[in-house]
Subunit: 327 residues, 2 copies
Amino acid sequence: MTELIPLGTSSAAPTRTRHLAGTALRCEGRVLLFDCGEGTQYQLLHAGVNRSRIEAIFITHLHGDHLFGLPGLLSTLSLLRRAAPLTVVAPAGTGAALDALPGLSELDLTYPLELVEVPETFSSGEVYAGDTFTVGARPLEHRVFTVGYRYEERRRPGRIDAGRARAAGISETWQFDALRRNETVTLADGAVVTPDGIVGPGRRGASFAYVLDSRPCPGGRDLARGADILMHDATFGEEMLDRAIETGHATAREAAEVARDAGAQRLLLTHFSSRYADPAPLVAEARAVFPDTEAAEELRRYVLDAGDGERALGVGVAGAAGAGARE
Amino acid sequence: MTELIPLGTSSAAPTRTRHLAGTALRCEGRVLLFDCGEGTQYQLLHAGVNRSRIEAIFITHLHGDHLFGLPGLLSTLSLLRRAAPLTVVAPAGTGAALDALPGLSELDLTYPLELVEVPETFSSGEVYAGDTFTVGARPLEHRVFTVGYRYEERRRPGRIDAGRARAAGISETWQFDALRRNETVTLADGAVVTPDGIVGPGRRGASFAYVLDSRPCPGGRDLARGADILMHDATFGEEMLDRAIETGHATAREAAEVARDAGAQRLLLTHFSSRYADPAPLVAEARAVFPDTEAAEELRRYVLDAGDGERALGVGVAGAAGAGARE
């Protein structure tokens, strides 16, 4: 099971009840982190997420409220005597910032830090590949160079029609597994069973789009296409549209329009301005456009589940990475 | 009234119940901050301390657990549209680290940031002067260049013997105030009243010594001399003395010895290793040497109150500052 855990839903400055940007994605014991605002390492503790299980961290842009928790988290992982490499995917310039801080050099850390800096010329591509998933990225539209991310689980095997399998003579687990892998099975009597008519079509994996901070934009819509969960910048309500445009953020209504246009399954609003003590008006505004909308709640678990049906994916993030490694 | 509010009492990495180093001192609406580990701005919110009232921040050393909350706090003060200058006193190198981070340049901040970098050649001196107090510093003994601080309120006027004052013809508030300032008062009938015999000796102001991270050392003892409250590194218990020596920290017993030798009034232990879920054993160890010891509790308020008696001060932190301004 894959689950999302919002760690911080505040924009810019924290409030008494909201933390700065960060979202954990946990899949079969591995953890990915999207953004790392100040306090993320505390929120990981409160969420009961094992910090040692973090495999990669994806930073959208170099504004403090998305970044200033990274130095502390990297230091703490070293204190926990991490040995496994850690990947950080982040806009160009991140390495220089980290290098200027104490305790984060190669000599200081107990583990290899593999920094993948996304250059400002980046247009589209896969930036990370795990065993069971890939992460693609697209540029967004904010005041500084910003990239959004899309987590996508690999295609899953088709479902087996157990009745037809048994009728064809299949009875043992290894035989079912072979069919699931689209292989033929030779039975004890020499008969050959092929997957045709027994195993259904492969199914798409679950997908999650992380689109902040941004105005509504083509990159955001591409990342969100058919996503099971879209988490989108909703800093303001429509009454603050001018301010959203000025600051490079989206209104709740605009986030809902992205979800609708991209055919997302579910929308989580986040990055709320402190002027909204209660995000209910933002949710109401978005639901008028896209009913399956909620305000992301910190430390709540959202199950990321792909529907079983085949849906058009059309994800615009395949192709060459174009992201350079840290020098 | 002056009060101390510990914001973080953990060493190195946070735990579920302890935050990274930071202590607020609030005096007549003004706030001083000692260290600024990650999460300090959250703890200020939880403590109900008005962040806009921060007048100066004192950083002991450039280890992340004492520093990584500073960039976020500086950014938030800008978002709060602070206009008043803010002083940061910190070891040399702090400016270079801040300059490498986004959002902290002179152009980005809404207020002047006056960085006072303490050079590694620093030996002793006043590093900040407020209306009613001064802050002195001394080098400590840690793995990197570290300075401890001593907050000291200016000498307060002596107490007036109201009976003697009235007997001498003093009746109005302005007359009492003049005597308190050690001035003579000319009465309506031409008689001159001097403070002699009416106003007692000036009284010392309250003092607070902040001594971490450090081994027991002369600088720490000087800062602690006669202090009303000494907050001292007590990362370990005596059973971990070797580790304390190796890492440049103090044991609870050593902290108590500093308090005893310096004639401090009260000792607050802090900077606890995560191995001590409950600091009670550290407190017990220290009390065997210095009975008036407590473990600093996060968000609790400790009143900083100078005894009325005259005590030997002998504070070794007077003299030239020797600290350069930010370029």
